[in-house]
Amino acid sequence: MSIMSVSRPDASTSMYKHFASLISSYVDAPANSVGADAAIPIESIFKLLEMYRFNAFKDESRRGALALRANGHLSRISKTPSWHGSVLNALNNAKIDTFGAETSTEDAVIELETVLKKLTKNQALEENHKAHTRNFFVQFGNSLG
């Protein structure tokens, strides 16, 4: 038996809050968005936007096809709350605040993802895209608490 029982409260909210702050800073200093230091924060936020776009937040690590029992024993399933509740709320708040309720999630995400791709290449951003991106990630970070 392990020395202590560990739950996995890995909502990743602290990480996303930190990354959101970085992304909003890159918008005004795009030179910082190129290179190894920025690549992971940008790609991680991009993957989060993909989850938001497709409402695909499962992100579970499944056991193998033949691992019918956990550790060979019968057991109840653990009832952990879904990891993404607070993150999804923050994404929704930021989207409505930035793009308005009438803009679809798909349209909002595609615009933000386009900006992220341009940031990795230090390409020029349109002013309205800059404003949207800055506001979205500031609001997202604030909503995460």
Binding site: E43, K58, D59, R62, A65, L66, L74, I77
Partner: protein, 458 residues
Amino acid sequence: MDAREFLLNECANLNTVLEETLRYEYGVEGSRIFFEECLNRLELIEQLINAASPTSSTALSEYFYKLEELSSLISRIERSSLKEYSWPFLEEFKEISLSACTDPNTTQVDENGNPYPPQVHVLAEGGLSSYLIHVDGRRIPSKRRILTIFFPRTLKHYVLLHPILGHEMGHAIFSIAAYEGLLDKVVEEYLIQKSRFFTSESSIAEWLYTTSVTPKSVSIFLSVIEAELEIDQSNVMTDYIDFVAWKEEFLCDFIGLLMFGPSFLAAQCDLLYSIDSTGSEIGNYHPPTACRVNTMIAAAQILGYDTLKFDTDIQIAVDAFWKSILEKKQLDSWFDVFTNDQIQTTLTKLSAFLSTHKKALYPQPTTERIQPLIKQVLKKIPPVGYEFKLKTVDGELTPDLAFDYSVDFRDILFAGWIAASAGDPSLNFEDANKLCEYGILQQRAIKMMNAEVNKGAV
């Protein structure tokens, strides 16, 4: 040390471990990609910990798990250097899998704008049930995805059983957000919501507990979980079955079958029933084995895999193969949770998805492709698609490698299963596996040689 200092110390330890991984060799692709990726991840996690307040228990707990995940990954990669797995099978498997498990939507692309495929590492693990593909979660801070594939150490050369990894590849594909949404919709719309039993949690519980029709073996299992875990009809769906996981398991079985063809079905029948001999065990995350196997047998029949006709002497082995499969089908219709129409539509939709990915979909087998391979295995010759001939050059006989045709390794596996079913006492299952592994190895060598020849011609 406080918690934050401890984590920073652990970052330094992990950095040392990462450098030590470079003592070993990691196959064709080497160590550069994983080393740089892991180092970038580690530096990023260290930055996150440094930026966190020493009193922020939430953030530090979160970063503890990020560090744990990375530490586990590095250990798996280090162990992959042992290389105790069938590398010819693995190389072929990668060829049919990498396109489908490459995330098309990413900021990380090569100079041509194409997304990088995941980096793959492979290791052997103890236990029959260790077939697994471990995928980086989407919450893992990363640039490139790394997959670690597990084979059972004891089954190193049992390539006929390895098609079960087609199921695991289904999970790897499902882990891509764009595909999760798409595939979930297919399964939900065409399979689950059309099912007589699975339309709601209450209907699933009713299916399990309607004692007048529930098979005795299932009722016995249900009484065991009632006695041991206090699970009954009122709480089975909240406390015992994760039906979201069940749906994913059904989906991955379909993907395994469509990627590998009959060899997936044969491997699944043998492996699942070796672990759950009644086929009636209800898993937290896995539907009963008999429901899965019955569904896959029906799917294979819909795909027409069992209708191929061969020469009379070969047909005997083919008939024996399908008889052995059909013996695994539970005749109680309680286990037939989907109709043929539902299965057919699901196959059509998932085939359309897989056909957009290079080599992912197993081409419909033909007698012309499979029969020569069966004959080779029955003659104890590794099944390959070429003949070694002699030709006359300047009046002298010299070797002539006639590259007649390229063989799909999934055809070799299908042929191997049939030959192993022939009842020839001088060809046991282990021999059939080794012959097929040699066949795949030789085919792989021919492919590499042809690639070199073509490169020279260019």
